[in-house]
């Protein structure tokens, strides 16, 4: 059995200092629409770190959430087709022989990596899928699905700290993980119970780390479509605990977690009139600000609870910078 966990991603640190590292990058549809604030800020920070995330040509939907039925092979067509595109990208000389595929959306990460693990585990499934996609070249199992956080962790806190121009001093940041980056543990990027991978990075940005046990509590996931109030209750718990522990903001990498924690504050306020809203950001938005890349790359207009008043009260953003944008 080949688990990707055993092949830890190769370091980019050294190379990035001299010359740009080009990495195939899978965006996913949410990042092109409602989570443009994740994509824009991540691409900008990556560039500042000497990494060029090259969008995969002709990528399709990741496949979203691996199905749980027995005969679910059809659901692996989409993810594996994306992995074939990485091979094509290399064949076309667009990826410098790089077999890592970087993801940003933790849901896409989860789906792609699980499918990859599945076909590596079950060659007969891979053969069926390859036969089905007879118009494409065969997938050979060589692609490594990685998350951007792993790339950052690999670069190291020191390297990241070097780019910081506006430290996030005095900002209490509670990292939030949810589940798709961590579970199932065969594909997770960190300890599913006690993840820490965001810690060093946030600290390197100068933020005050607010670690709290609610960081892995379920955000409610797709229940949000069925029963938004139930999800609002879950979010209420997560947010109030973070606030109580001293957080000014929360960070995440998952558009669905972000939606549940951020947008559902509308429902929370309806039920709990005394609830004080709290901004939920993508960690990359904070990085972009700390790197001095300006609010342009952050698309704060897409955050439901506007983080700009909080950020400017901490002196991390200039007041005018967002006032003029709003006008």
């Amino acid at each position: 059995m080949t688990s990707e966990n055993t092949n830890s991603p190769r370091a980019v640190g050294e190379a990035s200092r001299s010359k740009k590292t080009r990495l195939p990058y899978y965006p996913g549809c949410t990042l092109k629409t409602t989570a443009k604030n994740l994509e824009d800020s991540a691409l900008a920070t990556a560039e500042a770190l000497g990494i060029e995330l090259v969008e995969l040509p002709r990528w399709n939907c990741c496949g979203v959430v691996t199905s749980l039925t027995d005969d679910d092979l059809m659901h692996h067509v989409a993810p594996i087709r994306n992995l074939i595109r990485v091979q094509e990208m290399n064949a076309a000389g667009l990826a410098d022989g790089e077999t890592r595929l970087v993801t940003l959306c933790s849901m896409c990460f989860n789906t792609l990596k699980r499918s990859n693990a599945r076909v590596r585990e079950r060659p007969e499934d891979l053969t069926s899928l390859n036969d089905f996609m007879y118009l494409e070249e065969d997938y050979d199992g060589s692609v490594e699905v990685v998350h951007f956080l792993e790339i950052l962790a690999d670069l190291g806190a020191e390297e990241i700290g070097r780019r910081v121009k506006t430290p996030l001093t005095g900002l209490g940041v509670a990292p939030y993980y949810g589940c798709t980056l961590l579970r199932p543990k065969e594909i997770g990027i960190d300890d599913p119970e006690r993840p820490t991978i965001q810690n060093d990075i946030l600290q390197a940005l100068g933020a005050e780390l607010i670690d709290n046990p609610y960081k892995t509590v379920c955000c409610g996931s797709y229940q949000t479509v069925q029963d938004k109030h139930a999800v609002a209750e879950l979010a209420h718990g997560i947010l109030t605990h973070a606030r109580a522990a001293g957080a000014d903001v929360l960070t995440t990498f998952c558009p669905l977690c972000a939606f549940n924690l951020d947008n559902r504050q509308r429902e929370i306020v309806e039920r709990h009139p005394d609830f004080e809203t709290i901004p939920v950001l993508y960690a990359t938005q904070l990085m972009a600000l700390a790197f001095g890349l300006g609010p342009e790359s952050c698309r704060f207009d897409l955050n439901f609870v506007d983080p700009r008043p909080m950020l400017s009260s901490k002196g991390i953003m200039k007041e005018e910078a967002w006032a003029t944008r709003q006008a």
């Binding site: 965006p27 549809c29 092109k32 629409t33 409602t34 002709r58 990528w59 399709n60 939907c61 496949g63 059809m74 659901h75 067509v77 989409a78 087709r81 089905f132 996609m133 118009l135 494409e136």
Partner: protein, 252 residues
Amino acid sequence: MGNQTGMMERISESTRSLTTGVDTKDVEHWVMIYIMGRGYRVPADLTIMTAMEFAGYRLIRSCGCRQGFCGACATIFRREGEYKLESALACQTRVEDGMSLVQIPFSPADAASYDIASEAYAYSVFSKHYPEVARCVSCNTCTKACPQDLEVMDYVQSAIKGDFGGLTEQSFDCIQCGLCAIRCPAEIVQYNVAQLGRRMYGRYGSPEPAHLKARIAEIEEGKFDEALDRLAGASTEELEKLYAASERESDG
């Protein structure tokens, strides 16, 4: 100049089988095809459409432009001994020996109601009117079915990404034949999704040129009235002179 009546007759004689139906005595090469399971011997150089007519079908459905533009003649067929189900436009595809075929006279599909003037230029326009696009499993069956050889899956994916320009580019040659939609396991009606997307792009993504608006204003102000009055009232002789004197715009 020659014998023109004779010439016209020679021309019409050379195209007789095309304009009046095929006469068996003119045929040299034959093939067997199976129309809905029943075998017919037909001339080898016909299209599926003209072969059906040769066999005696009077087409009412599944025939329109006869030239590859209207999408009425969607046809599915299998070659002898093959497992693959192929699709084609009957008017654009030559018959092959052993071909077994049926036409798809109609593809039931709901088209949404909308007023593009009041829609948001964003992905949400698709989730609002065709929420099923999100069900695409990227199986690529649609692409395989497309007789225009479009990357249908890619344009569906462009819709999901809210990439209106990409969708327009990839779906532009779609003749709305319906073959993709009847084969889609996710029951997406690709060509309607694309139609909505292209109109959104046309209206919002590819703005109207300034010179067009300027010209409409000039016409409304009556800038050309005098010249047009003169032309509309001119005699044939005057017009002939003006026409002969009219200079062609330089090519540069």
